[in-house]
Each structure stands twice: as C-alpha cells, then as structure tokens.
Amino acid sequence: MKNAHNPEVEAEYIRRILAGEKQLFHDLIRPCERPIFFLLMSILRNEADAEDAAQETVVKIYLNLHLFRGESQFRTWALSIARNEGLGRLRKAETRREDSLDAITEDQGGDFTPAILTSWREVPNQALEQKELAAVLRQAIDGLPEIYRNVVLLRDIEEMDVRETAAALGIAEGAVKVRLHRARALLQRSLAPRLKGFAPKRGKLFGWGR
C-alpha cells in the first residue's frame, strides 16, 4: 500500500493502542512494512539480515510508540527507526562497505551522462510479467552507491515525496533531489541499452499482453 496516510486516523489509532487496544498496532504498522524492509535491504544488502532487522525495528516502534510526537508522519518516524537499526547493525558488524564512505562527500565526482539514444520505444508495465525484466531492474539498483540507492528506493519505488524522504534519511531536501537525479541518470545509463529488448515488437501494438 503506497497511498498517503491520514495523520488524524493514525493519531487516533496510536491513542487507542496506548490506551490498551494493542491489537490495532498490527493495522497501524502494515502500510510501513514494505518501505521498512526495502530500506533495510538497501542498507544491509542481505535478505535474512534485512528481515531480522525489520522485525527488530517493528518491535522497537511498538515499544516506543509513546515517544511518537506527531511532528512528522508516522511512517517517516518508523523509517528513521529502521535506518538507525540498519546503520547500527552495520557499525556493530564493522562491515561497512567502501561505498558508505560516499556519504561523507556529497559532491563527489562521477559521470552522470545519460545513455545516448535517438529513439525510445516504451517498455510497458505488463512486460514485468517476465521475471527477467524485474531481475534486470533489481540488479541495476543493487549496483548503485548506497546514498543513491536509499533515495531512489524511497522516492521512486515507495513513491514517498521529497520532504518525507529527506526526513526519513536525515538529509536535506536539496540532497534528496541531487541524489535522485544522479541515481536516475545512472539507472538510465545502465538500463536503457538492456531494456530495449523488452519493448513490444513493432507492428504488434494491438497484440501486446494477450
């Protein structure tokens, strides 16, 4: 579920949970499960670790619910707890990968020139029924430096807005925009040549998806 959350409904849920209707927490957290897991996947890069960290995060959210002040969206607050959990685990394991050092310098060099094409035939979403296409898209994200991966994950995959992404990652809105721009440029460059094969063949416009 990616729809915008209603802060009043959330506040009411939280009030009732804290007053003893614990079971409501299951419903409150459900819309946050996906972004929590994939943010942790982006940080930890391992499915088992990300799942374990996601469980730990959700338990922490539950136990600390009384600390939520409603100054941000609930999901934003939940994601910042997930990020702390992920980063804490990285530090503890001392397995911080080299690309995490990127976080220190925003203005690092790099070539963000797009793949040059003279025409583009759109790859329709129906093409995702082919498992290889989804795999190609996942691989491309996996190849991004972490600071870009986290941003593209929250903005383009979980469709969060710039403000919420900035708050969840603890960075400025300007940094979200710069990183997203670079991530998209890197993705376009690596994907454009590979995606061409997934576009519908010419002359079969009406037969697509049947």
């Binding site: 003893g20 614990k22 079971q23 927490f25 299951h26 957290i29 459900r30 499960e33 996906r34 897991f37 994939f38 499915e47 799942e51 996601a54 469980q55 959700v58 338990v59 539950y62 136990l63 963000f112 020139t113 797009p114 793949a115 040059i116 094409l117 003279t118 025409s119 583009w120 759109e122 790859v123 979403n125 995702l128 029924e129 296409l133 989804a134 898209l137 996942r138 994200i141 593209v152 383009d156 995959i157 469709e159 925009k177 997203l180 721009h181 998209r184 440029a185 993705l187 376009q188 994907l191 454009a192 995606l195």
Partner: protein, 81 residues
C-alpha cells in the same frame, strides 16, 4: 538564451517531477521539440521511473508479513496487558 543538451540532462529529473520553473520548462520543451536525443533520454528515464514504481519489481519475501506479525504478537504478550 537557447539551452543545450547537457543543460537539459541536468534538469531531467526535476522536469519529470514537475519541479522546474515555468521559464525553464518552456526552454526545455522548445529544445525537446527539435532534439531527438534529449527526447529519447527523457522518455527512457521516465520509463525507468515508471517501471520501478510497479510493486512487482520489489516483492517482500514469501511469508515475511506472517513472521513479522507473529513476532509482534509474542512481544505484545511479553509486555503485559
């Protein structure tokens, strides 16, 4: 002032998000009318963004939600009434 391709590429992400001013948008639109390279770069970038928004690209592991709520249930019992 006519803008060049490199200038367009710098703003492509903001353009897709509707986050450029009216003046710059008009310049970019004018450039796109005659530049097939920038049009293709824009279309392919936008296509990539649209594909990533599809839930089928990233799916939660099978049983993820059940295990998560199971764990939560245990914590709720442990933390008293």
């Amino acid at each position: 002032m006519r803008i060049d391709c490199k200038h367009v590429w710098e703003h492509i992400s903001a353009y897709i998000d509707g986050d450029v001013g009216a003046g710059l948008r008009a310049e970019i639109d004018k450039h796109l009318e005659t530049c097939e390279i920038c049009s293709a770069v824009l279309d392919s970038t936008r296509n990539v963004v649209v594909l990533y928004a599809d839930d089928r690209v990233f799916e939660l592991p099978t049983g993820f939600s059940e295990r998560l709520h199971g764990r939560l249930e245990k914590e709720m019992k442990a933390s008293g009434p």
